[in-house]
């Protein structure tokens, strides 16, 4: 996926530069950032990822999304129309994320947590998924908590 991801990062770069170039002249430039959407492109990616069972990829992606589903094309179109409309008259050089909460959930969406805490409940296609914590490591919260304790102890010593 290197060129896809690189190109989409590039699109955000173009959005920022172009918006600054034309903002004073009454023209706005923004971007939409869709997560998984029910489209031909996602069918293609699902099939490439698991030719034998693309539906399993769809199910896993859905489970990995806080809303539990893909976006519809209409939901992305709504964001596009909003950004094009006069309702967004002071919005330029930025992006709207339409991803059912995926990026807002900090890399460990609800479906993932359920899997970590209850691996027996994992759905087809999710089992052994490496985007989640490896099973032999503690959840994120443990090392983070440990770091916080250490930091506060250092502060106490300084005082």
């Amino acid at each position: 996926m290197a060129p896809y991801v690189a190109s989409k990062h590039g699109v955000l770069g173009l959005t920022k530069v172009a918006s600054a170039d034309v903002a004073r002249f009454g023209v706005r430039v923004n971007a939409v950032c869709p997560g998984p959407v029910e489209t031909r492109m996602m069918r293609s990616l699902e099939s490439q990822r698991n030719p034998a069972d693309p539906r399993a990829v769809h199910d896993a992606n859905s489970a990995n999304t806080p809303t539990g589903r893909y976006a519809t094309p209409e939901e992305v179109a709504n964001a596009v129309m909003y950004l094009c409309s006069d309702l967004a008259s002071d919005i330029t050089g930025t992006h709207l994320v339409i991803d059912g909460g995926r990026s807002g959930s900090g890399g460990a969406p609800s479906g993932t947590r359920r899997f970590i805490e209850h691996p027996e409940r994992s759905i087809r296609g999710l089992a052994g998924h490496h985007s989640m914590m490896p099973p032999d490591q503690p959840p994120f919260s443990q090392p983070r908590a440990a770091r916080r304790v250490k930091a506060s102890a250092t502060v106490s010593l300084g005082e």
Partner: protein
């Protein structure tokens, strides 16, 4: 939201998000130019708009080619006289493969359509908007820009389920 009397230009208009946008803009009163590489899908989107009482035309284009981009801008101006909304949306997914094995030709193709195509759209639509002193552009990026922390999962584990 109301787009009566406005003109919406949509690349990748034959596909899912592009088609939904064509129908959405048209439903709210806009005249729509559907641009797509695929004649059948592009024409179908325009026809769907017309069947619902809207006004739409299809213009075929490979958005990675400057001549095609200049042509869809020219065609839009000839048919509807303006571009108020530009949905710079056409894109392809390429192949699912790790970076260390990625095919160079596919890399070039994806960058040509997704990055150069978006640039060319801006390059030739923005002057039209600047001339009138108004207009709005929306480019299609991906949540893959916004959650880069998880991007690596894509390439390191091509056989697993995660998408972003």
């Amino acid at each position: 939201m109301e787009f009566t009397g406005k003109v919406a230009l949509i690349t990748g208009g034959g596909g899912g998000i592009g088609r939904a946008s064509a129908l959405g803009f048209a439903q709210r009163g806009a005249k729509v130019i559907v641009v797509d590489l695929d004649h059948t899908e592009g024409e179908t989107s325009a026809e769907l708009v017309r069947q619902r009482g809207g006004d739409a035309r299809f213009v075929p284009a490979d958005v990675s080619k400057s001549g095609d981009v200049q042509n869809y801008v020219k065609a839009t101006l000839e048919v509807y006289g303006a571009i108020d909304c530009f949905f710079n949306n056409a894109g392809i997914e390429g192949k699912v493969a790790p970076t260390q094995e990625y095919d160079e030709a596919v890399f070039d193709a994806v960058i040509s359509v997704n990055l150069k195509g978006v640039f060319l759209g801006l390059r030739y639509v923005l002057p039209v908007m600047l001339k009138r002193g108004r207009g709005a552009v929306v480019n299609t990026a991906s949540v893959q820009d916004c959650s880069a922390v998880r991007v690596w999962h894509l390439t390191s584990l091509p056989s697993t389920a995660c998408w972003d």
